[in-house]
């Protein structure tokens, strides 16, 4: 067992899963976390295997005890089976064209000549937490590990677009990566940003994550980083950027990746939304990382409850914590501030006096007052999960 915080509940789940695996001629016993199968992909550590082709790999929760998620532990999510597995930088070029004065074909060296911008930002899949929706919805059945906090470096998209010279009448900027579908009719994974958003100060073409090159599965050689927005826009292994004069509404912008057009982005569970809009900015979330769900704690021994909190581009104002299932709340201490796009760590010291079961909860609020709901908000695609998480611990 690699994780010393592997809880009894984890163990029981794992034991059950291993029992099943053994019964069906499955796999060795040391490759499970959170009751799910682990697998090691190239340049990655053991991650939770959702799917192998295309790869969807989830980060085990214990990595979130760190402020920065290591490259080898960051989650992986591709849409189409033909993903880049071989890139030669001598040949790779990022093409910028469309409604622009010039067509650019940038090599990695060219990209590195632009001013280098570095910041830490949460990357999170739109469907992170989808498996918690009730009624359940189809799609990648993520728990909480389709996210991470990474220090990104790269060139400002704005500077590149300025060098190309965007012409009047531009509406959207469209991004295409090296991935493609295995059949001709499969819609290629292209995403777009409105031109006003694309020229924002903080959007970069990142060629480094945590000071090193991108891992292949996280978008080598360069990917778009749209801090504050869900990762669906962070197109990996970029190949081409095209400025267009009409609203771009192909499959992955419409009907895919859309949310109900109302303030909660939700509809009554099980129902269909009327008008929809593209998903964009992340909502506010917090998560309890330690102790783990089902942990045994000792009475009268202080324990540091810790977790993380973030929101889509606004700093976290406070995180309140409850140890009695939401009846009373106390304010936590926040850790180092790494900027409005990063997550913060929070800490809450608790000395349980009586033996028994306790429900721990955490709720974050950002600087513009956006917080987390007590009841889950439902939408048919399973996006934007941010219900107040609760875990149960036993004091013995």
């Amino acid at each position: 067992m690699k994780d010393i915080n592997f809880s009894r509940r984890d163990f029981l789940r794992t034991a059950g899963a291993v029992g099943l695996a053994a019964a069906f001629g499955g796999f060795p016993s040391d490759i499970f976390a959170e009751g799910r199968r682990l697998y090691k992909f190239p340049e990655k550590t053991d991650l939770i295997l959702l799917t192998s082709r295309p790869p969807q790999l989830e980060t085990p929760l214990h990595y979130f005890k760190e402020l920065i998620t290591p490259n080898e532990a960051l989650f992986v999510r591709w849409h189409l089976a033909d993903i880049p597995a071989y890139v030669d930088l001598n040949k790779w070029r990022l093409k910028i064209g469309g409604n622009a004065d010039k067509v650019l074909e940038l090599s990695m060296d060219d990209l590195k000549k632009f001013e280098k911008v570095t910041y830490t930002a949460v990357i999170q899949c739109s469907g992170n937490g989808r498996s918690f929706f009730e009624p359940r919805v189809p799609g990648g059945q993520w728990q909480n590990g389709a996210m991470g906090n990474v220090t990104w470096s790269g060139a400002r998209l704005k500077d590149i677009l300025n060098q190309a010279g965007i012409r009047a009448g531009s509406v959207d900027v469209v991004f295409d990566g090296l991935d493609s579908g295995p059949l001709p009719k499969v819609p290629d994974f292209l995403k777009s940003l409105p031109v006003d958003k694309a020229v924002g100060e903080d959007i970069i073409i990142a060629y480094e994550m945590n000071g090193g090159p991108l891992t292949m599965l996280n978008g080598f050689p360069a990917r778009l980083v749209v801090p504050g927005w869900f990762a669906t826009y962070w197109v990996k292994a970029l190949r081409e950027i095209t400025v267009v004069t009409k609203k771009y509404e192909e499959f992955w912008m419409k009907p895919a990746y859309r949310i109900p057009d109302n303030p909660c982005a939700c509809v009554p569970p099980g129902s269909k939304p009327g008008r929809t809009v593209p998903i964009t900015r992340m909502n506010t979330r917090s998560l309890i990382i330690g102790p783990s769900n089902g942990a045994n704690l000792k009475a009268n021994v202080p324990v540091d409850i810790m977790g993380i909190a973030f929101s889509g581009g606004y700093s976290i104002k406070d995180v309140i914590v409850s140890v009695d299932g939401g009846k009373s709340w106390g304010e936590s201490r926040c850790g180092k501030d790494m900027g409005k796009y990063s997550w913060i760590q929070w800490f809450y010291t608790w000395k349980p006096e009586k033996k028994g079961k306790y429900i721990l909860m955490a709720r974050a609020t950002n600087s513009i007052g956006e917080s987390q709901p007590f009841e889950s908000l439902w939408n048919p695609s399973g996006y934007m999960w941010n219900k107040i998480e609760s875990i149960e611990v036993n004091v013995v």
Binding site: F41, E43, S52, R53, A85, Y86, P138, Q141, G181, P182
Partner: protein, 209 residues
């Protein structure tokens, strides 16, 4: 002697430069290349009728852990998923195969362990009444027209008033569009939906929405 040395040197240099050229033509410079080997991971699908067909068709585009990671879904959800694969992603699955796949998924990864109704329909007497218009609609149309709406183009629902504004008034008008649709809609030819089924669907649409 000097000439000979110069000549030898020239040949030597040109050989080297040819080699360099050859290397740059192939474009392989290990320091600029990143490559990975993606693992092929086997997935154990549950045994049952339709398993091989399901694995064969689904694996064209994705590994079948896409199936095993899902929670148990009712048959109409599996049906919607399979039809999305056909309509949106172009999976080359004909009507018989899609029925077998939906039946396998809803039998082994569904909310009930009973074989889904479509298998019973397949066993029915071909001269019998067959599936109802509603069942056919769910199977063929509901993925894009849930509840008579339109997930691709909200301006073209199956609502009676909406249909009339587009000149669609009779069952024959609907069948004509199924056989020869406009942009955004897949074609439902006689093989996908025989005439008697198309008529049932059209009548169901006209009386329902």
């Amino acid at each position: 002697m000097k000439v000979l040395i110069a000549l030898t040197a020239a040949i030597f240099i040109s050989v080297i430069s040819m080699q360099l050229n050859a290397a740059s033509i192939e474009g392989v410079d290990e320091s600029t290349v990143k490559s990975i080997d993606l693992p092929a991971i086997e997935v154990d699908l549950k045994e049952g009728a339709g398993k091989d067909k399901t694995a064969a068709f689904c694996n064209i585009c994705h590994s079948t852990d896409y199936i095993t990671m899902q929670p148990r879904f009712p048959a109409d959800t599996w049906s919607a998923i399979v039809h999305k694969m056909i309509v949106v992603f172009g999976a080359p699955v004909n009507e018989d195969d899609s029925r077998a796949i939906i039946n396998y998924l809803s039998s082994h990864y569904g909310t009930s362990e009973r074989p889904a109704s479509s298998e019973m329909q397949m066993k029915q007497n071909p001269d019998g009444p067959g599936p109802t218009g509603e069942e056919l609609f769910k199977r063929n149309c509901a993925v894009c027209h849930p509840g008579g709406g339109n997930t691709i183009n909200p301006d073209k629902t199956l609502n009676m008033d909406h249909l009339k504004t587009h000149g669609i008034k009779k069952a024959e008008d609907i069948i004509r569009i199924m056989r020869n649709p406009g942009p955004g809609m897949r074609t439902f030819d006689e093989y996908a939906v025989p005439d008697k089924d198309a008529k049932k669907i059209a009548e169901y649409i006209l009386k329902t929405f």
